[in-house]
Amino acid sequence: MPGTEDQSVADWIPRLLEGLQLTVLLTLGGFAVALVVGLVIAVMRLNPKLYVLYIPSTIFVEIFRGTPLLLQLFFAYFALPSIGISFSPLVAGILGLGFNTGAYLSEIFRGSVLSVDKGQWEATEALGLSWGSSMRYAILPQAFRIALPPTGNYAVSLFKDSALAATVSVSELLFTGQMIGAETFQYMQVYAVIALMYLAVSYPTSVALRRLERRIDTTRPGRKRRKALVDA
């Protein structure tokens, strides 16, 4: 209620936590969409000579990288309903964030696959592996290691950018904070708590990602080994 300035921190923190839940949901949903979009677009763009796949996927990437994320969200929520496609605020937010991040991820994935040494492809070809098997068992595991650090950065970035979904009226963390601020005028406290909440998620995530990077690095000594079925 506006004007009730005697609200204490304990009163509005539960509301912020609800907002944080939506922020996390937006991020996870958006990132899931981004991973699928990124992978599909990356594969479509691997071979520039396959025009049918290459040209539409390239147009997709250029559109999503070349226009503001905010505009994309507005399109998803405000513009698409006029041609008969309407989403709830949350779905519009997830799709907008997901397609935008997906466009960027696709470039990371494509670059990672292309940066795997050409000799690796030749080795799989010489062994008679199919394209699919080569990708799955030889190329992608290596590309994954290359792609992981930048992909992790985009995940953390997406978590923060999800605040933009407030503009399409998703009551995520920042949006909820603005409401509370307007009601209580305790802007300093509210925004400080919000900042701490963002950090409480993003910092452990960054640390976990760094750990994961180290764990999958086969060139690091002392890595745990799988046992062979057959004895030496």
């Binding site: 000799g119 008679g128 592996l129 199919s130 060139t219 799988r226």
Partner: protein, 264 residues
């Protein structure tokens, strides 16, 4: 039954203005060990890489074990399925090993037998361990490539190719990227393979090894086969002046002082 295992006829290939292969013919019988030598840029590597379709040819024809692998005039010849079928019968060992860095030695050796030949994991590991044992690497089976020396890596790569039980093995300068003290262990393995009757096509700069192991030497220069014959003939009584010059240069590098100073 007398048709050769691998038969390449009238191979032509050029990169821009460079004629990599200029009407090359090569037939290799089952059980034969053919060593291709020649100065760098002579087309040796191009030749061996066309034999399993890693590189295409402009014209000519390559038939492996009765199946046409390459023939630019036949639209079906370069189909992916045909290529894969032929390649699994030809093991290839690369100059730079090309092991899969995210897999252990055993993982490298068992991947293709499982995914291409349909072996179970256990069968593939049994075969893999026995090959690694032959290579003297049973203790390194669970090590990753970066934990192995160059010579060990190349022996794993040989085991990986052999795990497909190929009809022939192609060696593309298999010892050129190795430190000198590691060359011997790889050559030893190759010598044993040859003694066991494996069909082998070897591109190498190791002339003493070539002389010992080759049933037939093929000398290339400027994209052409300039001479072919038994090692003793080629080394001791070359028919071609260019062969003689090449043999002198590689057997007695110190006598080529002029060349050495040129490289200064």
């Amino acid at each position: 039954m007398t048709s050769p295992l691998i038969e390449a006829t009238h191979l032509v290939k050029s990169y821009g203005h460079v004629q990599a292969l200029d009407d090359v013919n090569l037939a290799v019988d089952a059980g034969e060990v053919v060593v291709i030598i020649g100065p760098s840029g002579s087309g040796k590597t191009s030749l061996i890489r066309t034999l399993n379709g890693l590189e295409t040819i402009d014209s000519g024809r390559i038939v492996v074990d009765g199946t046409c692998l390459q023939d630019p005039t036949e639209p079906t010849a370069m189909r992916r399925a045909v290529r894969q079928e032929v390649r699994r019968e030809l093991g290839m060992v690369f100059q730079r090993f090309n092991l899969f860095p995210h897999l252990t030695a055993l993982g490298n050796v068992t991947l293709a037998p499982q995914r291409v030949r349909g072996l179970s994991k256990r069968e593939a590991e049994e075969r893999g361990m026995s090959l690694l044992r032959d290579m003297g690497l049973e203790k390194k089976a669970l090590n990753f490539p970066h934990e192995l020396s160059g010579g060990q890596q190349q022996r794993v790569a040989i085991a990986r190719a052999l795990a497909m039980q190929p009809k022939a093995m192609l060696f593309d300068e298999a010892t050129s990227a190795l430190d000198p003290e590691l060359v011997g262990e790889v050559l030893r393995v190759m010598r044993k393979l040859a003694a066991d009757g494996m069909t082998m096509i070897i591109v190498t700069h190791e002339m003493h090894f070539a002389a010992q192991v080759a049933h037939r030497l093929v000398v290339m220069d400027e994209g052409r086969v300039i001479e072919t014959g038994e090692p003793q003939e080629v080394f001791n009584a070359p028919k071609e002046e260019r062969t003689a010059r090449f043999v002198r240069a590689v057997l007695e590098p110190e006598s080529m002082g002029g060349v050495a100073s040129e490289h200064r």
